[in-house]
Symmetry: none
Subunit: 179 residues, 2 copies
DNA sequence: AAAATGAACGAATTAATATGAATTTTTTAA
DNA sequence: TTAAAAAATTCATATTAATTCGTTCATTTT
């Protein structure tokens, strides 16, 4: 190697080079992370750090933590006792945050009738289990449980819970949704 | 209040009282945790610990961590920058390990409650029909039939069959649990 | 340009969570 | 019963993950 005079520009360029390299770029890093997580069982951030560095992608745990947050990657216990970082489902049913689906307000519920203690909700075809799930969550106090078919839900109220209570419960839900 | 002599039995009873309380029991604790997580946004174990203690359920973080692992609860980043503990999706029936008695002793059956003539069994997600089938077979004398959803079984007892009869029937299988 | 702004990041720190080991409680079996 | 075994739980600690803070650099604004 022979000595070379390096101009200022070149120095700046060289210094910046790193940043423009494929691997040293946030977007691409996120892609790499996704790919790794899709194909590999990763149980901790430290582990993922190593895998990344194998792909010439050197970052610290801090950054990784931020990346995972950004990607909405969740840490889940496996049946074998280990943990796994998993990407959110592709079709994007994000975890439900606080509120319930607005199925109710969209007329998916067609009717509610009673027979004795039992309530029967009719829904649009296919909606029953989704709505049953909502009812389970919203009405734990009034309802012992629900059983859903395709367009029919059987609602089993707790003992001592009146039809009105059930109606009120559903009305509240309706009211909430409609505004 | 006048002073009272308390006999040994009473002392023992009082000491044990706590243990028999609903809240002081793993299985029930798991139910409570599930219910909380289904209805509340919980961002950390410490937070959940408080909610539990509000429900008279006192445990340490260590136990909670193990409970969450058992329930396969995962920690997920939300869009608002916070985190949320979420229960595994209901439509993901876990691999069924073993037979009826196993399922029961492994806590696949979460609860049994009554409303009027009807019994409602809550199970882990996905287990309902497997267990319902077993109940049908085991309890033909007491039970007219069962209807299973994903995590709920409606048990319809025969005419003249009491709650106790049903309990006894289940106790045979539960036996280990109830004492 | 210089100054202001804002994203990205790493180092260090703090916070949160998991786990080993000891202990207590419950179950089983004799 | 009572002792032994298993399961559940806690305590203490290790491990893992999130965040704070300060720096750098690119981009806008003045």
């Amino acid at each position: 190697m022979q000595p070379v005079d390096i101009c200022k520009k070149c120095i700046t360029f060289a210094e910046n080079l790193n940043k423009y390299a494929f691997m040293k770029n946030k977007r691409n890093r996120l892609i790499i992370i996704s790919e790794i997580l899709r194909s590999t069982l990763v149980g901790s951030q430290e582990e993922l750090l190593k895998l990344l560095s194998e792909k010439q992608c050197e970052v610290t745990q801090a950054t990784l933590s931020r990346d995972l947050k950004l990607l909405k990657v969740s840490k889940t216990p496996l049946s074998n006792g280990a943990y796994k970082y998993i990407l959110p489902p592709v079709n994007k049913p994000q975890p439900i945050e606080g509120t319930y689906s607005n199925l109710l307000s969209h007329g998916a519920v067609l009717s509610l009738e009673f027979s004795g203690q039992l309530g029967v909700v009719k829904t649009k075809p296919g909606y029953a289990s989704a709505i049953a799930w909502d009812i389970d969550n919203k009405a734990n106090e009034q309802v012992l449980g629900t059983i859903a078919g395709d367009d029919t839900i059987l609602v089993i109220p707790r003992e001592g819970v009146s039809r009105e209570d059930i109606l009120v419960m559903l009305n509240i839900t309706f009211a909430d949704k409609t505004k």
